[in-house]
């Protein structure tokens, strides 16, 4: 069950790479050996550390000016690859509450909504502006106002588009399972009707 999304003003860290995949966000070995809630140190592990295990100073999230970042600025197709929801958990454990990108992997984006992490889609030009802004500003504090679907960058208001239902669910921390269980009668009616027209679908043969 997700926590309600609260208004946020936090440091924005740029990660302007295309096709950031879920394997890089959380390597599979780590998600098997470590619990949800403790995945933060392994988020972006392949990029974040030097071979000797020390933080790679070249990696944006290791730069002192982006310390404590809660908003991440990605490129196109952020979160592509596997369906592992632990990619969202790892970002959450790292402290990230909002990812802004040109586009997202479909399953990753759905997983964000399930966990109260806000994915914001912006066009390439606005993203480029934000990236430059984040690089120049000390500190790059960005406001996220989900209620009004806008970002606030030092006086500039940047609107973004989000499904109203998704927005409500994030703002209220709604639980999908709880919501759907209210439709259980509809599901049972569907099954009854379907049994007459697609009996092979409603029971796996095995005979």
């Amino acid at each position: 069950m997700a926590q309600p999304f609260r208004p946020l003003t936090a440091i924005l860290a740029p990660l302007p790479r295309a096709n950031v995949d879920t394997e890089v966000i959380i390597p599979i070995g780590r998600l098997i050996s470590h619990r949800r809630g403790t995945l933060g140190p392994f988020c972006f592990e392949p990029w974040r550390y030097l071979p000797d295990g020390s933080p790679d100073p070249q990696f944006a999230l290791n730069e002192p000016r982006y310390a404590g970042a809660r908003i991440l600025l990605g490129g196109a197709n952020f979160g592509c690859g596997s369906s592992r929801e632990a990619a969202v958990w790892a970002l959450w454990d790292l402290g990230i509450r909002c990812v802004i990108a040109e586009s997202f992997g479909d399953i990753f984006r759905a997983n964000c909504f399930q966990n109260g992490l806000l994915p914001v889609t912006l066009d390439a030009a606005t993203l480029a502006w934000l990236t430059t802004w984040a690089g120049a500003r000390r500190p790059p504090l960005l406001g996220v106002d989900l209620q009004h679907s806008r970002l606030l960058a030092a006086g500039r208001s940047i609107p973004f588009v989000i499904d109203p239902e998704r927005r409500t669910a994030l703002l209220e921390g709604l639980d999908d399972i709880g919501l759907t269980l209210k439709s259980l009668a509809d599901i049972r009616t569907f099954i009854r009707r379907d049994l007459a027209t697609r009996p092979w679908a409603q029971s796996a043969g095995g005979g």
């Binding site: 096709n19 394997e23 070995g29 098997i32 392949p46 596997s82 759907t180 005979g207």
Partner: protein
């Protein structure tokens, strides 16, 4: 207003009700559950006091975290993903909780165990027109039978267990036509890698792909599964092919397929599952199969792919600065230089298996190359059958002997080196030709360098000890 698409038809069949804002509540016909999800998700459901609504439509098997050591007696244990069973064994938990919920488990050593996307079609669980989900992005594989199948996250797995339904926004539609005839040595894997290279790994994001055209219709069912399997690597969580008599013949007689009085009505219903001639797709793409050579990846995204006889592309030839940077980083990771010929690049590993290419026809394709030849001395070559049934069928026709005599390891079924979730890893800096689906940084182990290719190309690499063009392999020694 144009006619209906295959995708739209099946989607509409499963709509329980619209939820507003373009979101539908969809009924789920089959839910496949693997070992990384079963224990933790069933535990979470139990913690909420909720039962599994349709255990009879839910099927489980261990594949991701089990070791594939020949003769494995018990599976490796591994801590669960989210801490609900931190110290326990995923497999032990899976066994206990599926039994308690009344969910059929295909356990180690049993016919039916294997990679979820191999066993679904093989057992007749996956059928045309069904809506199939699994907590794994390669669930698009089942679209090869004309099913509407897609991967879901852990929260959605829990949602399906509790409600046998999903809340989903309807994606846009994309038709990818593949016309023309494939050249010898070119398979479904090559066709799809070529398309991903040409259109990009994000090309079909937000879309459901329908594959059509003469080169698609000409594919057998297992090749169609390979084609649809790679949909997610082009960005689409759904990929599908209209079911035809090739599919119906494949399904007939399979264990969980409809039988007796149910068969004829089922085939009649499946035969109606096609896009209308005047159906309108949101996007259309085309590929000429005749233009496709055997493919191999050079970088760290499936779109970093070229024909086997090509050279490594120069990042500086790319206009987009972000793409240029990512290509430079990819070459650095892969230990390759621009302009370098891929053919002849020495390799350390070959992996034949996975939900992409772990079926009987894939093993036959590789064995045909391997027969009468030897694996190069420096190469660790593994064959991991996609399922227990594939393993047994391959043994029955002597494929295991061909691989073993050539110097391959012949292992037990599972996901294995495709992603190393079971601890089987390619060591840092070592180079592998794999019949898998992802060459991401660290995918086959931290620092591992992956080249994705077809079973024939992977087999040729094992023999040559280097990336090789299967079409140019010297003749095998007659023994």
């Amino acid at each position: 207003m144009g006619g209906e698409t295959l995708f739209g038809r099946i989607w509409n069949l499963h709509r329980i009700k619209p939820l507003g804002g373009g979101v539908d509540l969809l009924f789920v016909d089959r839910h496949l559950v693997h070992d990384l999800e079963a224990g933790p998700r069933l535990a979470a459901l139990a913690a909420r006091g909720l039962p599994v609504l349709r255990p009879d439509l839910t099927f489980a098997t261990p594949d991701h975290a089990v070791v594939t050591t020949p003769g494995r007696a018990t599976a490796a244990t591994a801590a669960a993903a989210d801490g609900t069973t931190s110290a326990g064994s995923l497999l032990a938990d899976m066994r206990r909780r599926t039994a308690a919920a009344g969910i059929k488990l295909f356990d180690l050593g049993e016919p039916g165990q294997g990679i979820v996307h191999v066993i679904g079609p093989e057992l007749g669980l996956s059928l045309p027109g069904l809506l199939i989900v699994c907590g794994d992005s390669h669930t698009c594989t089942h679209g090869g039978l004309g099913a509407l199948a897609f991967g879901i996250g852990s929260s959605e797995v829990e949602h399906v267990l509790a409600t046998q339904s999903l809340r989903q926004s309807r994606p846009a539609t994309l038709r990818l036509r593949i016309d023309g005839r494939r050249a010898p040595g070119v398979g479904a894997k090559d066709l799809m890698l070529y398309a991903i290279g040409r259109f990009g790994t994000a090309a079909a994001r937000g879309h459901a792909i329908e594959y059509a055209g003469a080169a698609v219709v000409a594919l057998d069912v297992e090749a169609r599964l390979t084609l649809c399997n790679l949909s997610i690597e082009m960005g689409a969580k759904i990929g599908m092919i209209a079911p035809d008599s090739t599919v119906f013949e494949y399904i007939a007689g399979r264990h969980y397929a409809p039988k007796g009085a149910q068969w004829e009505p089922a085939v009649a219903a499946w035969s109606a599952l096609a896009s209308d001639a005047d159906a309108v797709f949101d996007r259309e793409l085309c590929v000429d199969a005749a233009a496709v050579a055997p493919q191999i990846t050079w970088g760290t995204s499936p779109q970093d792919v070229v024909g086997i006889d090509a050279v490594v592309p120069d990042p500086d030839a790319v206009g987009d600065p972000a793409l240029r940077r990512s290509r430079r980083a990819a070459l650095d990771y892969m230990g390759l230089s621009p302009g370098q010929r891929l053919e002849g690049t020495p390799i350390d590993w070959v992996f034949i298996g996975s939900c992409t290419n772990g079926r009987l026809s894939d093993l036959r394709e590789a064995a045909a190359v391997v027969r009468g030849r030897r694996v190069a001395a420096r190469v660790n070559a593994w064959v991991v059958p996609g399922s227990e049934n594939v393993r047994r069928a391959a043994r029955a026709e002597g494929l295991d002997k061909i691989f073993l005599e050539a110097g391959f390891q012949w292992r037990e079924p599972g996901c294995s080196l495709c992603l190393g979730a079971n601890g089987e890893l390619i060591p840092p800096g070592q180079r592998s030709v794999s019949t898998t689906n992802r060459n991401f940084v660290g995918r086959q182990g931290p620092g591992a360098r992956t080249h994705i290719a077809s079973p024939a190309t992977a087999a040729a690499a094992a023999i040559a000890g280097a990336i090789a063009d299967v079409r140019k392999l010297p003749p095998a020694q007659v023994r």
